[in-house]
Amino acid sequence: MTDPPVATSSGLTSRQAVFLVIRRELRERTRQRSFAISTGVTLLIVLAIAILPGLLGDDGPREYDVGVVGASGPPLAEALQRVDLGRDIKVSTRVLQERSEAERLVEDGDLDVAIDGDTVIVREELEGDLEALVQLANRDVRTQQALAAAGVSGEQAVAITDPPPLRTDALDPPNQAQDDRRGLVTFGVFFVFGQIFGYGFAVASSVVEEKSSRVVELLLAKIRPSQLLTGKIVGVGALGFAQLVLYFGVGLVAAVASGSTDMPPGLGGALALVLGWFLLGFALYSALFAMAGAVASRVEELQNTSSPITFLIMAGYIGTVAAAGDPGGAVARVTSFFPFWAPLVMPIRMAAGEAPAVEVGVVTALVVASIVVVVRLAARIYAGGALRTRGRIKLKEAFADAARP
């Protein structure tokens, strides 16, 4: 057996140490079968959400079968075809000889309604669109007849019965592209919420697992707590980020291909912003979750130590729902200024065009400043708590115990 290699000088830079930790996190996590399964299941959900509106949304015009009885039937049938309710409705007419036949066909469901003189025959009741259609057609025929009796005909009659429709002059017209963008960004933000929560918790449980398996003692004999924590957060975060990009990409391609949505202009930029806000949000929450892990020593305790963080992000989720409903509203505006909620609420406000550049700048600065504070605090708490593998640790003790942050 030849002699094994010997590490000469330990030329491991801080960056290399962090890189080794990142690589281990990525390798070990992607190797787990549960990772492949959860990614696959989420992709299926993404596909379902993306494709279903395309399949369900466009079910063609509504079709009505209308019977007309007797001599007044043909002109009425003609009027029924002419009336335009401004909706996607198709009417088929049938001229019948007897009222009894009309009644039988309506009873059997072959006809939706039948008109006999001044009576409409229905099975149960006359529904809205059909009533408007029938009444308008009837009024049209009667007006024509009255005009003809009064000697008005031709273009004059048409000008009376069929005046040009009113033009719409919208002061604040809906912006279809912006609405589509907002809708898609809102979907994106819900996934961001899931990823921040899921992968933030993964940071916490990874911290606790290293403590409960005691491997942390060997790790911290080799590298500093700050290097281990940085590698862990970046490694776990990179995986969450990559998944998010995958979900967005697959969802978008599927949605466009299935006809659920047109690709609104500017969507790429809006989704890139969502991803950017994910990175900020993850930095903030993963640092909090790392603290929750550092003060627990068993996975069971993590439920307790992480519950304040769970409440915090859940509250942010409520802000998100409010922003999705009313991006210009007070709730959206106020919650977007709170650094822990901004990463969820701000992208929706921005996609809706409801966030002035100054506010975006101020909120971004607030969030970045919070990240700096929280990450430093987390590094300190982690340094103090990582080696305490027994029992719950008080935050204050962990903070005081940080020997080599």
Partner: protein
């Protein structure tokens, strides 16, 4: 060379280490012994930078232990721990690189050590699929993988079967022969006596004996004498000045002497009792020595 100088560490009101000093030379194997709570683990963790001393210094080859030097120490913590779900070879590769090996060297070293420690056939398995004994071998490999010049092992023999003890003993001898300074704690004093050149005995955070095992035994010897006197009555030594106890033993007697005993007076008494055939100061075993210094 590893040196601890007047290292003191308190945890609240408990003094875990109280002015502890000892040194381990390259090529030396040193046992760190003491009762539970004597301060062995604290001393080792301070060497590894896992705890800070309140006072005193740790030096490695003459200078304070910085990150780079610390990374080069091979360490086996008291509470074993590696990644349970990680494969054996990947794990050793990871710790090899964290200790400063290049990627290629770490791979080669990981292979070398799984073979040397007899777990090569489990190299691709997850750690938690191995028996506890094999997990312990992997733990040892993680301490050795980068060819450290200082090995700090906390209770490395605990939990090993006799074959494991032999493998570990052989490996530690090889490491010391390679020039590594080896320090380990153990309650198995016979093992320490067999393996180690020097020993440091801690009691209640203080060093109560420190030095080469031979020298220590000699120094604490002379407190007992084995004497064979032909033709003497079996109780010839009873009541001699300075003799605190007499144990007859197969025609000989073993005398325990008081601190102020004069061995020459004892010899005179023996000669007047009969023909002195043997007169040997007895050096105590490490276990006896331990009891003496710790319990006194």
């Amino acid at each position: 060379m590893l040196e601890l100088q007047d290292v003191t560490r308190r945890y609240g009101d408990v003094v875990a280490l109280d002015g502890v000093s000892f040194a381990v030379q390259h090529g030396e194997m040193r046992g760190l012994v003491g009762r539970n709570g004597a301060g062995k683990t604290t001393a080792m963790r301070i060497v590894l930078g896992l705890a800070e001393p309140d006072a005193g210094q740790v030096r490695l080859n003459g200078s304070a232990v910085d990150d780079a030097a610390r990374r080069r120490i091979g360490y086996m913590p008291e509470e074993r721990g590696l990644y349970p779900k990680m494969r054996v070879l990947d794990q050793l590769d990871f710790f090899g690189q964290l200790s400063g090996l290049t990627a290629a060297d770490a791979k080669a070293a990981a292979k070398h050590w799984v073979e040397r420690l007899g777990v090569a056939d489990r190299a691709e398995d997850r750690l938690d699929e191995l028996s506890l004994g094999n997990q312990q071998r992997v733990q040892l490999a993680a301490a050795l993988v980068h060819g450290p010049d200082l090995l700090v092992l906390d209770e490395p023999f605990s939990g090993l079967d006799p074959v494991g003890v032999d493998v570990l003993s052989a490996v530690l001898r090889e490491e010391a022969a390679r020039g590594a300074a080896v320090v380990f704690s153990s309650h198995q004093l016979e093992l320490v006596e067999q393996l180690c050149d020097g020993v440091t005995i801690l009691d209640k955070g203080k060093v109560v004996a420190d030095g080469g095992i031979k020298e220590l035994r000699m120094r604490h010897g002379g407190r007992r004498l084995r004497i064979r006197v032909q033709g003497a009555a079996h109780d010839w030594a009873q009541g001699l000045a300075g003799v605190s106890a007499v144990h007859p033993d197969d025609g000989e007697v073993v005398l325990e002497l008081a601190d102020d005993a004069d061995t020459q007076q004892v010899l005179d008494a023996a000669r007047s009792a009969g023909r002195v055939e043997a007169f040997m100061p007895m050096s105590p075993s490490l276990a006896e020595l331990f009891r003496e210094v710790v319990e006194s």
